[in-house]
């Protein structure tokens, strides 16, 4: 047994282990995921993450707990930042394409001039 410097730390771990226990059988370690249970009724959070990630049907009204809402808000903020980044990149690429097209047209015009010059001279 490993000795611990703080008894309170040990008690914290023990209490956490009691409230979120693991089952240890001979060859298997398992636990029941309370948050994954399907819950119904408006006062308890419905599993919105399952509907998003596992494409399961959503009920008419969706209730989510603060943890899930924060997770979604964080993801949305990340997506918005990414969208803004991509929008800027698209704008930049449009300018590049416009510039390159102009250069290409200009070169074509020069080429046509060069090709048509001997004909005119003849």
């Amino acid at each position: 047994m490993i000795e611990m410097s703080s008894e309170t730390y040990r008690r914290f771990l023990r209490l956490e282990a009691e409230s979120h226990p693991v089952k240890i059988d001979k060859n298997m370690i398992s636990w029941e995921n309370i948050n994954m249970k399907i819950q119904t009724g408006l006062t308890s959070p419905s599993d919105i993450l399952e509907s998003i990630y596992l494409k399961r049907d959503m009920s008419e009204t969706v209730v989510m707990d603060r943890r899930v809402a924060s997770l979604l808000r964080d993801k949305l903020a990340g997506l918005e930042a990414e969208t803004e980044h991509l929008r800027r990149r698209i704008k930049f690429m449009k300018f590049i394409i416009l510039g390159l097209s102009s250069v290409l047209l200009f070169m074509l015009w020069i080429l046509l001039n060069v090709l048509s010059a001997p004909a005119l001279a003849a």
Binding site: I2, L13, E16, A17, V22, I29, S70, D74
Partner: protein
Amino acid sequence: MSLRSKIIDLENEIRSRFVGNEEAIQIMVLNQLHPRSTTLIRAPRGAGKSTLMLLMLRGVCGDDMVVISGASEVKRGEVIGRLHIPSLEREGVERVLWAAFTKSRGKGLDEVNRLNPYTTANIHHMMQFGEVWAYGQRAEVGDYTLVANENPTDATSFVHPQPFYDRFDVCLYLNSLTLSEKFQLQDLLERYDWNIVDSMPQVISFEELEEARREVAEVKLDPKIMGYINLLVRDFQVCIREKELSEVKPPTLCEGCHFIRDVCSMIKEPLSERATVALTRLAKAAKWLYGSCKLDDIFRMALWVLLHRVTLVRTGNLIDSLRGLLERERIKMEDRNMRRQWALLDQLMNGFDRGIYKLAREAAVEDVTFAEELMKLEERWVRENILSPEELLSIQMGWKTPASWSLRKR
């Protein structure tokens, strides 16, 4: 009347004279319940920071208070002590007359950001050691309540060092008043004849406050609450690349780091251990006053303990940014419970089991704080020849050279 009732009365008396900012008032009252309490109020001009400071000092100290107005001209003699010239001239003895600020139990520092660095250093020493020095003489400062305020956007500010601000237990930001609150303020001003501060009674004697402080110190917190306080502070400190010792700071330091999207990468300067002390004291005070202190209370109080102690990588609105980080931290704590991390660690404390160790390693690669604890156990297992050094999480992830390597080399 019991001490608890008096403290609740104090809160009510302040609330009846100060409009809005209910949470700030509640935290300020809770923060009075430990010895040598220090509170910093930050707000733009005219938001009521001086009024709130005076209301609190009057409520707990009555007339036994001194307020120093911050100005670069304020000298040590006015704040700490000055030489008694007649004694020096007649007897050749250096006698120090200690300033009223030093002797009073209620100490106020108005616009602390305007105090010159020399005077600030003397106050810093008083807050740190509970004593003052002048002309080679020392005076012990008894228990007190110190409330300071400042306007962080004030152009005439001195930039005081971070350790000075760290000595303040909490930092309260005040909001400006909403439309309806402005009407409330006008009603209040008329009710108290335009002098709100003078109408504030001394609700509790300082001796009673000291008694309440002793009782709060005796309060025992639930190990779970203690654990969550320590976890919260550790998550705001931890860095696998040891940012507290590194000259390169985030975000540069975080480039290529495994934990780049974690809370740690959002924090430039980590918290000091005083954050744990301040949060523990607030939790004890809440338990003493209201009978319980839950995890939600800890997160609510943490905002005011961390605001002046943490430097974030990106800050638009400091309060909103910190609230967002605390929200993420809350999710992280839930995730830890879902992964049964503490149950696994508890099992590993009782003895090594390869199956549990494997699960714990999987959790550790996503959680630095947990990884630290697991790595400590790993080092012990290496010494006991249960694990080989090559198997260590720290070696495989390239995080840190564990002490076991250096022990082996020796």
